[in-house]
């Protein structure tokens, strides 16, 4: 590993550590936030118990697959909001001209920006995801796959939000669009893909990438399919690449000072 990468990593780790320290100032709030998020997620299981009382499968998923779906969604969403929470609120920084501080630092701007905050309840999401996966009785190979999909899911969530958020370099009000779309994505990601058909299914695989973040991974975990695995990996790389490209394109615009609204 080159020293530059090592140094960057050191800054990132310190950043995450300091983020957590900030939230731990009030320990009670910190712990209740996490534990209530776990309870919160767990309460939704009631819904699935009921639905599986009515039918053997829901949208082609067994109860175990629903647990995997929830596990992956919660864990990826959680991890992305622990490490890269700012990728989910980028428009605010752009509009208020708060990127300046990162631009005078000799580190990668994108990484510095997205690691600069944390959502504490996300720790609860991550833990809940892992607990659910543990209930799924995965074999060693599945665990390795699940870990891989946790990484790709985290990247897909982060990159998708970053992509939308970066549009705020060009357009106003992107914060609302970003927020709503990401929340919508999470909602879809907690239901089986079998209930969606036709156009909506296509949209949910390729435009709002729920399919790539969790549905394909669950299918691969349930029954291994190399093609699907490669699709997920390829799509993740593509999405990550384009979101980074759009961010830097936007950053150039930021540096040219011709943003709408923002100018100091």
């Amino acid at each position: 590993m080159s020293t530059a990468v090592k140094n960057q990593l050191r800054v990132c780790l310190l950043s995450v550590k300091y983020n957590i320290m900030r939230e731990m100032v009030n320990k009670v709030t910190f712990l209740t936030n996490i534990s209530f998020m776990i309870l919160n997620n767990a309460s939704i299981l009631v819904q699935w118990f009921i639905l599986f009382r009515l039918r053997e499968d829901v949208g082609g998923y067994t109860f175990r697959e629903i647990m995997m779906l929830w596990g992956l969604t919660a864990a990826s969403y959680g991890l992305s909001h622990i490490l890269f929470a700012r990728a989910f609120s980028l428009p605010e920084l752009v509009i208020k001209g708060k990127l300046d501080a990162y631009l005078v630092q000799p580190k990668n701007v994108l990484i510095s920006v997205i690691t600069s905050s944390i959502r504490i309840s996300a720790i609860g999401d991550l833990l809940y995801g892992i607990i659910l996966m543990a209930f799924c009785r995965l074999g060693l190979r599945e665990w390795i796959l699940a870990a891989l999909f946790l990484v790709t899911g985290t990247v897909v969530f982060t990159a998708f939000s970053l992509l939308l958020g970066s549009l705020s370099f060009w357009f106003l009000r992107m914060d609302i669009l970003e927020n709503q779309t990401v929340m919508g994505m999470v909602s879809f990601a907690t239901y089986p893909d079998g209930i969606f058909q036709g156009l909506s299914r296509f949209l949910l695989y390729f435009i709002i990438p729920v399919g790539m973040a969790v549905w394909h991974p669950v299918h691969v975990l349930a029954r291994f399919d190399a093609g699907m695995l490669l699709t997920v990996l390829g799509y993740t790389a593509l999405l990550a690449g384009s979101s980074v490209a759009v961010f830097y394109r936007g950053l150039k615009r930021y540096a040219s000072g011709n943003l709408m609204g923002a100018r100091t």
Binding site: T29, T32, L54, V58
Partner: protein
């Protein structure tokens, strides 16, 4: 009474300006309903099939109505604002005003949902007609009593949430309890009608606020019957009186504590 009307009016005017922001929330509502339409389309396999006594249309309209109530009344005043007032000590300035603090908050809350709820109602009606089609048993004649039932449900909900907030007099952070309360309502009360749960649980649910806050109003809308109507309204009145009693009691105790210990 007049002063509460004035409070109501000014909150209403203030919130009218945020109507556009309210409409932003339609997206989340739509996503949620869309998922449920798809879900129930999958679950109902034969035409005319009934699950727990509900046809597919009724089942979807049920979710749309409970979620309409939920989204339409989802405002911060009864929860965060009260807790914030108490924690920051601002409450000391508020209780010296010549109105009753809890009534002031409830009035404010009413002003807030008076904008949101009708907006959601129209939106729900439109997407319901487009995606599901009309409800067979629905009659316009019953709309006023349905509306009354929804409003009573909202108010009962607010009273309960206010009660929880008032516990901020004793404990530092009541948000976890708000959360828990919301979760129970949301998970048990909005997604499915009570009839779908195992039979041993059903009488239990009828004793919780779920029955009066969301199940009752939604049930009346999707499957109206005069007997049900009387039963639900009676239960709501009972809950409202009881809830207000508890609220006033907690409030009085809290204020007493405030005077003893200072802000």
């Amino acid at each position: 009474m007049r002063k509460y009307r004035v409070i109501y009016k000014s909150v209403l005017m203030e919130n009218l300006q945020y109507a556009a922001n309210v409409a932003m929330g339609f997206f989340s509502y739509f996503v949620f309903i869309y998922i449920f339409v798809k879900l129930w389309e999958y679950m109902y396999r034969m035409p005319g099939e009934r699950i727990a006594g509900y046809t597919k249309e009724q089942m979807i309209w049920y979710v749309m109505m409970t979620e309409m109530i939920w989204f339409g009344s989802n405002v911060a005043s009864v929860a965060n604002e009260v807790a914030g007032d108490i924690r920051s000590g601002d409450i000391a300035y508020r209780i010296n005003k010549p109105y009753h603090y809890t009534l002031y908050i409830l009035t404010k809350y009413t002003g807030e949902w008076s904008i949101r709820l009708p907006m959601y109602a129209v939106f729900a009606a439109v997407i319901g007609m487009v995606m599901v089609g009309p409800l067979p048993k629905f009659g316009l004649r019953e709309v006023p009593v349905m509306a009354l039932c929804v409003i009573l449900g909202l108010t009962i909900n607010a009273v309960f949430k206010l009660c929880i907030s008032l516990f901020s007099f004793w404990i530092e952070d009541t948000t976890p309890f708000q959360w828990l309360y919301d979760k129970v309502i949301l998970v048990v009360g909005t997604i499915f009608p009570i009839e779908i749960f195992p039979e041993i649980l059903q009488p239990l649910f009828k004793l919780t606020p779920i029955y009066t806050v969301c199940y009752g109003p939604a049930k009346l809308i999707v499957d109206f019957s005069p007997e049900k109507c009387v039963e639900i309204l009676a239960a709501q009145l009972l809950y409202l009186v009881g809830g207000c009693g508890v609220m006033l009691l907690v409030y009085r105790k809290g204020v007493k504590k405030l005077y003893v210990n200072g802000g």
